[in-house]
């Protein structure tokens, strides 16, 4: 599986990662090699095999809808930009 440069650039954009031209070339080679290995899965017949995402059989674990937020005051300690109680962000539209 050879993936092209455009595919790497597209994935980097989806993943919100700024990559240099050198990075893109390196990842193009490495991702092609890893996906090439993974192609072996094509030989496995998975018709009618359900996918597994959870291994211990848990279904719909629910908790009471109560607010238990004892540490709210401690949470924004590491925020890059804040006005003390709220997180400040750059403009979302047209910024």
């Amino acid at each position: 599986m050879k993936i092209d440069r455009q595919a790497v650039e597209k994935v980097a954009r989806l993943a919100r990662l700024a990559l240099s031209d050198d990075d893109i070339a390196v990842y193009q080679g490495q991702l092609s090699s890893i996906l090439g290995y993974i192609e072996q899965l094509d030989e496995v017949d998975t018709a009618d095999v359900p996918p597994t995402a959870q291994v211990t059989g848990l279904v719909n674990v629910l908790a009471d809808d109560e607010i238990k937020n004892e540490r709210r005051d401690k949470l924004p300690v590491d925020v890059p930009a804040s006005d003390g109680t709220s997180i400040k962000v750059k403009g979302v539209f047209g910024g």
Binding site: V11, L17, L31, S33, T46, P80
Partner: protein, 464 residues
């Protein structure tokens, strides 16, 4: 001789030698009171220490809360004596992907300690802490345990709370223990196990007294040997399993037979697909989990530079580019690719389907066997730098540990002697869901037949 100056199992402050005798006494009586514990730095602590995941992204980060496993060991009287090094965000098999420190193998400083819990494994091996906490997503407790000659226990997925484990792949991540012997593993697991309302995937089942399982008796126990584990490609230089490791398995079969166990052949036909499945499922989950590092709420951010100007998108793109190391970016890219439109069915869904087949293989094997015996790794500890430039070769180091992770099964690595170079060999025992007792019982019975677990690595020379 490699330059090993500045290498340590720990990140930040290196703890002073602790009162080993008192700790030994406590552990021998089955409690953690006063026992120093080395905690992998992907497990958060609110004790004034940083919780970094060995990443520049979280280098200055201090958690406002303790992980549940930390709270439990502290309530049991243990003391966190230091945070240990790891591959960044637990992504790696050698601890070389740490952005914040270097850790070498205590048995040979030119070799890796394994990973990603390499710091906790090295700390226990060098006897600076009798107990280490680690996390195991595809082998990150068992593989470094094997490389460092200690016991590494990964419980059933859901047996131990993941609350406060900085998330990598949430359907696979599980906390585990590193100890010098199986009885200590039983003690430590007994403390950290149990349901937790803060982790909805932890399971409400009674926690047995694991030490009571260590009867020394394995009479009638059926131990399966999966033949596919000896037919793998990409392991040792000759393509398979290092010969001394195969011999160790043969010896272990004889030992366990002498103790009364029955050895049976089993087949896990989808074993050779496990690494492929793992390297789709894990990066897919990791790419989602690591989306939270956006430069807005915590962690590395270009916005911290006072003069920085740019858009909201620039904050994301630049903060992530600067904060993450190469392996983390590689896995985010791989996972994003596997989940992206047009590839989801071919990669992610396909991987989840083959995961089902791998799980069914185990279910079938457990009809004929109570427990499976395999090598933990295809080779003993490799050289520093040996696999750094070849991500795929590094991934194949996980080949014997990822299948049990994909199926959520409990598994242990126990010391099984040394190769010709004097490097530790690890054997893996894989049990059925929730049956940590049988895993520990057989591991303990095997351990009793040898004195490998009491051998200590040479003390490092003082730097000149």
């Amino acid at each position: 001789m490699a330059n090993v100056s500045g290498s340590s199992p720990y990140l930040g402050e290196v703890p002073k030698p602790a009162g080993v005798t008192a700790a030994r006494k406590a552990l021998d009586s089955g409690i953690l009171k006063g026992v120093p514990v080395a905690v992998k730095d992907i497990i958060v602590t609110a004790d004034g220490r940083k919780s970094t995941a060995a990443s520049k992204m979280l280098e200055p980060y201090e958690s406002p809360y303790d992980a549940t496993v930390v709270r439990k060991i502290v309530e049991a009287g243990a003391e966190v004596i230091g945070k240990t090094n790891l591959d960044e965000f637990a992504m790696g098999a050698s601890t070389e992907n740490s952005a914040l420190g270097k850790t070498v193998n205590p048995w040979d400083p030119t070799r890796v300690p394994g990973g990603s819990s390499g710091g906790s494994a090295a700390a226990v091996a060098e006897r600076s802490a009798p107990v280490g906490l680690g996390t195991d997503t595809g082998g990150s407790v068992r593989q470094p345990a094997a490389f460092c000659g200690v016991v590494g226990m990964k419980p059933t997925y859901g047996r131990v709370s993941r609350y406060g484990l900085i998330a990598m792949a949430s359907s696979l991540d599980q906390a585990g223990t590193l100890t010098t012997n199986v009885a200590d593993a039983a003690t430590a697991l007994g403390v950290i196990a149990g349901p937790d309302p803060l982790d909805a995937t932890s399971v409400d089942r009674p926690v047995p007294d694991y030490r009571k399982a260590l009867t020394g008796d394995v009479k009638g126990l059926k131990i399966g040997i999966p033949k596919e584990y000896f037919e793998v490609e990409g392991g040792a230089k000759d393509g398979g399993v290092q010969s001394e490791i195969e011999e160790a398995v043969e010896q272990a079969k004889e030992d366990l037979k002498k103790s009364g166990a029955e050895i049976v052949d089993v087949s896990l036909p989808h074993t050779k697909y496990a690494v492929s499945v793992y390297y789709l499922v894990m990066p897919a989950e990791a790419s989602s989990n690591l989306a939270r590092y956006d430069g807005i709420r915590y962690g590395h951010s270009v916005e911290r530079e006072g003069s920085w100007q740019g858009s909201l998108e620039d904050v994301y793109f630049q903060s992530r580019a600067q904060g993450f190391g190469p392996e983390v970016k590689r896995r985010i890219m791989l996972g994003t690719y596997a989940l992206s439109a047009g590839y989801y069915d071919a990669y992610y869904k396909k991987a989840m389907q083959v995961r089902t087949l791998i799980t069914r293989d185990f279910e079938k094997a457990f009809k004929d066997a109570d427990l499976l015996l395999t090598p933990t790794t295809p080779t003993t500890a490799f050289k520093l730098g040996e696999k750094s430039d070849d991500p795929l070769a590094m991934y194949l180091a996980d080949i014997f540990t990822v299948p049990a992770s994909l199926a959520g099964l409990p598994a242990i690595s126990v010391p099984a002697g040394f190769d010709k170079a004097g490097l530790p060999i690890g054997l893996q025992l894989i049990g059925q869901h929730w049956d940590e007792e049988t895993v520990l019982r057989a591991a303990h019975a095997y351990e009793q037949r040898h004195d490998w677990h009491v051998k200590e690595p040479p003390k490092p020379k003082e730097p000149q």
